[in-house]
């Protein structure tokens, strides 16, 4: 692989910023000149992938475009039509493939996602609310000075605070932010369990082209990318989904089925919750520690993502349909895990909405109706081969895992009659459990596909220099 120029890649692509506050701003360009002018004005402030060896900045800035945005920027037609068709279509038109039906279908999305076309996503991440507002004020000043740019709306997201400390938890109570792929040239050091499995059972970084356009991917090919090459190289595609969490429904379901699991006590309930995801709520992988959470594993990067399912084909430690096993099956399908190397995604999500107050009891309906959930953002070189495949085949279907029509418990859009099976546990006190009458725990409230260009590509867009010939 040729050496990666981290200063040409947007920083958001190369690493999770780990900043507790974020605001995602959605823009509409009244005309191409205004859009180009805005990009030119922002260019110098875009956070790149350069390492922060001298400490974190106070805030970051990144930008990405929908296909409609690139069209509004008047990129040449030959360039526009060279983008992959799922990106050209956008998320709404992919609803039937993604399983975005019923309450999740685009006509039920938030007003922001049903109104004027969203052209750009501008993301601010910040260390404090003050630095967030300061960066936002600057952005607003540039938007006003440019003119003919509409800020259609914005989405705030923030890390949850648990016992006075910043956490990586989401609103259902699970700790997130462990599993993410390592890529060649992108990560300084790799962590076992993050890249791809080798035949000898060790892990190696995935090919760069699974994340970045312009580099060889796991098939040894350049990913499908728009022309000219220089527009695509060092860029990637982003999935943005606002996933509402029905916390009341989740808690009621866990109470109901927890009472029927094992001893039916608090410990059984906690265990059942771990079976849904494949990690205890503190993050301990149940494949490694099926009977109790183990903080020493959580704290150890050499262990907290280092597990496989090949010796647990019956799902007695981690259920075959548990979330992490579905979305990253590792070696569960045999062939030393080779079948999953082209289905990996890089997650950059954050929780949004008010944190549930543990001290004041709230009724399930209020818990459900409060606007809170996960801003799910995922990066990949191919939306259709990576994100859409995971969503369609592994979250919304169970065939690869020999689970027939079963879906991911928390993420699936469930229809009457569906069930979720939890295989019998290593502990005889926990025989198999089949959960039925599945409610919908997560609802899609809006989203789209974005192209996150390199710094060079942003400059070309700003200067109207994109030339497909």
């Amino acid at each position: 692989m040729s050496k990666l120029n981290a200063t040409d890649v947007q920083g958001f692509v190369l690493r999770g910023y780990n900043m507790p506050h974020a605001r995602f701003c959605f823009l509409h360009f009244q005309n191409a000149a205004a859009g180009r002018h805005l990009v030119a004005q922002l260019l110098g402030s875009i956070t790149t992938g350069q390492l922060w060896d001298n400490g974190k900045p106070q805030s970051t800035l990144n930008i990405a475009f929908t296909f409609k945005g690139l069209t509004a920027l008047e990129l040449p037609l030959a360039t526009l039509i060279s983008f992959p068709d799922e990106f050209q279509q956008g998320m709404k038109d992919r609803a039937s493939i993604l399983g975005d039906i019923g309450k999740n279908s685009p006509e039920h999305w938030d007003a922001l996602w049903r109104g004027a076309d969203i052209h750009a996503w501008v993301a601010i991440h910040a260390l404090t609310p003050e630095t967030l507002e300061a960066q936002f004020a600057q952005l607003n000043a540039i938007i006003s000075a440019t003119g003919n740019i509409h800020l259609l709306g914005s989405q705030d997201a923030a890390a949850l605070v648990i016992d006075g400390k910043l956490s990586t938890k989401e609103h259902f109570g699970y700790t997130d932010g462990f599993g993410n792929p390592d890529y060649l040239g992108v990560c300084r050091n790799t962590q076992p369990g993050q890249g791809k499995l080798l035949p000898d059972g060790t892990w190696a970084p995935l090919a760069t082209g699974e994340l970045l356009l312009g580099y060889a991917d796991e098939a040894g090919e350049l990913p499908v990318a728009p022309v000219p090459h220089i527009l695509a190289a060092n860029g990637t595609f982003m999935v943005y989904r606002k996933l509402h969490e029905n916390v009341g429904t989740f808690r009621a379901f866990l109470d109901e089925w927890g009472a029927r699991y094992g001893a039916g006590d608090a410990a059984a309930k906690e265990k059942l919750a771990s079976k849904f995801i494949g990690r205890w709520q503190d993050g301990t992988p149940i494949e490694l520690s099926p009977d109790a959470p183990d903080p020493s594993i959580v704290a150890d990067p050499n262990r907290n993502t280092d597990f496989k399912f090949g010796n647990d084909l019956s799902g007695s430690r981690c259920p075959v349909g548990a979330h992490v096993r579905r979305v990253h099956p590792r070696d569960a399908f045999g062939f030393n895990g080779k079948l999953v190397d082209r289905r990996r995604i890089t997650r950059r999500g954050m929780p949004y909405g008010p944190q549930v107050d543990p001290t004041t009891p709230q009724d399930p309906a209020t818990l459900d109706s409060t606007d809170r959930g996960v801003v799910f953002m995922a990066l990949n070189a191919s939306l259709s081969r990576q994100f859409e495949f995971v969503q369609q085949q592994w979250i919304s279907y169970g065939n690869d895992a020999h689970l027939g029509n079963e879906k991911d418990l928390l993420l699936g859009t469930h229809l009457p009659g569906e069930k979720f099976s939890i295989q019998g546990d290593t502990n005889p006190a926990n025989p198999p459990l089949f959960c039925a009458n599945l409610p919908n725990f997560v609802e899609l409230r809006g989203g789209d596909y974005f192209f996150l260009p390199s710094i060079t590509a942003l400059a070309m867009i700003a200067m109207e220099l994109v030339d497909p010939r």
Binding site: I97, G99, E388, Q393, S396, L433, F434, C435
Partner: protein, 210 residues
């Protein structure tokens, strides 16, 4: 062994389609027209012909050369491609089709060169043998179980899952009683019809997540 994998047979045929320039609608188009209107559920001709795992009928107009440098190649005629995974070998499976759906065989194959009709089974067998291509590595749709075994297994799987969801946690004595009742009832259920409605899968297949 060609055409066979475990207990399942993979039968493949290439049947030349008649070429008659005097026709208003050519034979290949007539086949396409007929195939396009066939039902694909339990009324599908192949659901009515026992022992069919999958069947595929394709009209192949010509071959297109893909590669460099481009050059033209043509087939001697258009072909009807018939591929199927079945529980029986050619004579056995053809007998099934002959008995169960002769009208469909006639409707499709009467547009093919040399087709002898369904009046005489031996002639039909000789014709199909002449069109058969030995398959050593074919798409195997199943895991070495017969169609009946597969349909019954799926029915059992659904029923058992349903039984468990409604009975899990029940006191052992009652559970045993109800299970025996359930088991007896299940034994006496008839085999579900092939091609029948499975639980609805709303998500669309495709995209092209190759």
């Amino acid at each position: 062994m060609p055409n066979q994998n475990g207990r399942v047979f993979g039968l493949t045929f290439l049947c030349p389609i008649l070429d008659d320039e005097t026709l208003q609608i050519s034979h290949d188009l007539q086949i396409r027209d007929y195939l396009a209107t066939l039902p694909t559920d339990e009324r599908s001709p192949f659901a009515l012909a026992p022992g069919t795992h999958v069947a595929r009928l394709v009209v192949m107009d010509d071959v297109i050369y893909v590669g460099m440098p481009a050059h033209e190649e043509h087939l001697a005629s258009k072909y009807l491609v018939f591929e199927t995974n079945t529980d029986a070998d050619l004579p056995g499976y053809l007998r099934t089709l002959f008995d169960a759906i002769p009208q469909h065989i006639d409707a499709v194959w009467s547009h093919c060169t040399g087709y002898p009709g369904t009046a005489d089974f031996d002639k039909l067998l000789a014709y199909m043998k002449a069109c058969q291509i030995p398959t050593t590595f074919f798409f195997a749709a199943v895991n070495d179980k017969s169609v009946t075994e597969t349909l019954l297994a799926l029915q059992t799987q659904r029923a058992v899952a349903e039984f468990i969801t409604t009975h899990q946690g029940m006191a052992p004595a009652q559970l045993q009683r109800e299970f025996l009742e359930f088991y007896q009832a299940l034994q006496s259920l008839p085999c579900p019809a092939a091609g029948g409605k499975l639980p609805r899968r709303v998500i669309k297949t495709g995209g092209h997540n190759e």
